[in-house]
Every structure is written in C-alpha cells, then in structure tokens.
Symmetry: C2
Subunit: 223 residues, 2 copies
Amino acid sequence: MRTLVHHPLSPFARKVRVVLAEKRLEVELEVEKPWERREEFLALNPAGELPVLVEDDGATVVEHAAICNYLEEAYPHAPTLLGREVLLRAEVRRLAAWFDVKFNQEVTENLVGEKLIKRFSGSGTPHAQAIRAGLANIHYHLDYIAYLADRRKWLAGDDFSLADIAAAAHLSTIDYLGDVPWDQHPEAKDWYMRIKCRPSFRPLLGDHLPGAPPPKHYADLDF
Amino acid sequence: MRTLVHHPLSPFARKVRVVLAEKRLEVELEVEKPWERREEFLALNPAGELPVLVEDDGATVVEHAAICNYLEEAYPHAPTLLGREVLLRAEVRRLAAWFDVKFNQEVTENLVGEKLIKRFSGSGTPHAQAIRAGLANIHYHLDYIAYLADRRKWLAGDDFSLADIAAAAHLSTIDYLGDVPWDQHPEAKDWYMRIKCRPSFRPLLGDHLPGAPPPKHYADLDF
C-alpha cells in the first residue's frame, strides 16, 4: 500500500494529503515527529522534512513540491491539479509557492511554529513578537485571497487547483489554533468554506492532537 | 525579445539564467534591486522576488521554480533539465529544492544576505553570528555534494540537470564572496569545476558588482 509519512501539523503534508484524495489515490498515513530526527526517517529524507511518499513498490518521493509534480506526472489519468495550459500551470505553481514559501514564513512558522511545534517538540518557549507578527501578517494574505477570489472562480483561475490546496493547507493549520480572523475577511471565508466542503478536505478536519484540541468551528462546514 | 528581470546577487535568477542558456533560449537581462520595492516591479510580481520572466508577447512568469517548470513545458524540444523518467524528475526536483530552500536558508542568506544584500540595500549591519553559522553550515552541504558526486556522474544521476544548476547557482554567489572552502572539499571542487566550464555558466562568472569585486579565482576555470 502507498504510504505518506506525515504529521497533522505539517501544512506541506496536509497539501499532499488533499492532492492524493483529489486524485483518488489511496494512501496509508504514518505519523512522524520530524523534530525527533529519528535515524530511520533521516535515511528516508536526509533533509528531515515532511512529507515523504513511499509507493507500493518501495519507490520514495521526497519534498512536497516534488511529490505534487510527481503525482501529476505518474498518474496522468487522475484529475489534474495544475491545469492543462502552460501559462495557467505557471500561475498555479506561482501561487502554490506564494503560500508554501511566503505565507509559510510570514504566518505559519510564526503561529503554528511558535505555539504548537515548540510545545510538542519541547524546543523552547514561544516568542511573543513572532506571534504578533504572524497575527498581523495574516490579514495581508487573506486580502490577497479575497482579491484573487473576487476576480476568478478559484485562486488561479476557473478550476480548483494546487494553488487553492496549498493556501487551504496552511490556513487549516492556523485555523486549528483558532487564529484566522475569518469575521474580518468574509470573501476569504467564502472561498475557504467552499474548500472545506470538498470530500478531499474532510480528513484534515478530523485531525486531533492530544492535549491541544481545535476550536469548535474548526471542523464545522458552516462556521 | 524575451526578458529576465534579475540581479547578480540572486541565486534564483542565476539558476534561471543558466537554464535559459542550457536550453539555448535567448534573453535580455534587466537588473532590478528588489529591496527598492519599486511599484512597477511589484506590479509584475507582488511577492517582490526575483527573477521574473517576460516573454516576447508580454506573458509574465513569476517565481523561480515555476519559471523552470514553465521553460520545460513551453519548450519541449529544447534540452530537458529535469530528465525524462518520472522518478528521476522527482529526484532532480528534490535536490533543486534542497539547495533553493535548505542551502539558501542555512548558507546563502547567512553569507550573501548578511555581507552583500544588507550593504547594497542599506538595511543594517551584518550579524557576526549569522555569518559564523553560514561558514559552518557550508561544510555539510559540500560534503553532501561530494557524497552525491561520488555515486553519480552528476548530482541527480547520469545527466547534468536542474539539481546541478540550483546547487551551482547558490555556490557561485558564495564563491563571489570568496567564502567557499574549496581546498577542504576537493570532490565538490571537481564537480564545480565541471560546471564552470559549461558555456551556459560563463556569463555568471563575468558578473561584477561595483564596489564589491569578486576574488581572483571566481572567474578562473582552473581555480
């Protein structure tokens, strides 16, 4: 059976989980705590990062963007999440990177990294300044989502794509903390509600960390 | 004429310059200082990052990895830098991301960011601690290059690929500072020497920043 080595707090693993579900590719999940830096895991991925995909035949695919591109190329008959047209695919990849790089650095690491990863990994106390920065930065990104969703059906164009998945994967980890100011960003909320309703997204809403439960609205489709 | 908006200090722009040259796609270079955050540039790329590719017909492609994937897809008859086989392509992308994410964070930002970008952008004084971290971290990455180059002809396999280009693009910016300890890493040096000899790499060796000249060996093919 195909296996994805993941952790509920990894937005990159969340992205790949949704991609696999959208492509209707079955997978077994295996939890890894990357901060433990287990030797067996580092042998799988010397970078020590999640997720890692292991195919039925033992073939290993490492690094979240490489995995998403691999799934497009290895399963050409599954629904595409990049689109068919070359410039559209470039736009999808640009926006996926926006969330995987910029949003990750400006928001996810400041909130999920400081509040949850530090606690679970026992690597120090949260920096109040970083948390403040994350809470301030998220508005700009929610505005950008609203800007895009106002002009297009989905973030990159007419079709649901990897851009929506990357954005929603990051936001879902922040939403687990209850730190997304949805009420101030109704257009972004509308877009996120549409994603939450997709069957591919449901398993993420069932994630539950012992000792750190999500707020009540986290799993609600109508929040 | 196709245009690449770049800066000599951007390893991501260097990567795309080499990719374009390997694919024999002509391009005009236009220098941008991203730290100035010019409005016209932010209109081109709201993320404010280099490089940006503008095609003849005005089509704009943004974000270094999206540009590299775009060039593979838009010019299928040009030499491929990802390879043909799906798992090989995943390995090329994994390694390109290793250098574009991990090496960038652990080495490039600590050395080029602290020593040169801060100076040119006037954004503060270099942190000695960051520079020390960069100088320490680079050994691990040069060891990894040696490990790969010992087992394979090029970093990702038998063929020269985007993995080699990404690694060399980052290293070339550090080498501009004279901060690559080549003498302690002869296998990595051998690999880099093979890349320096490629015609696609020559223009990078002619880069010259006013007031911050490179060391003598920077442009030497036999260094």
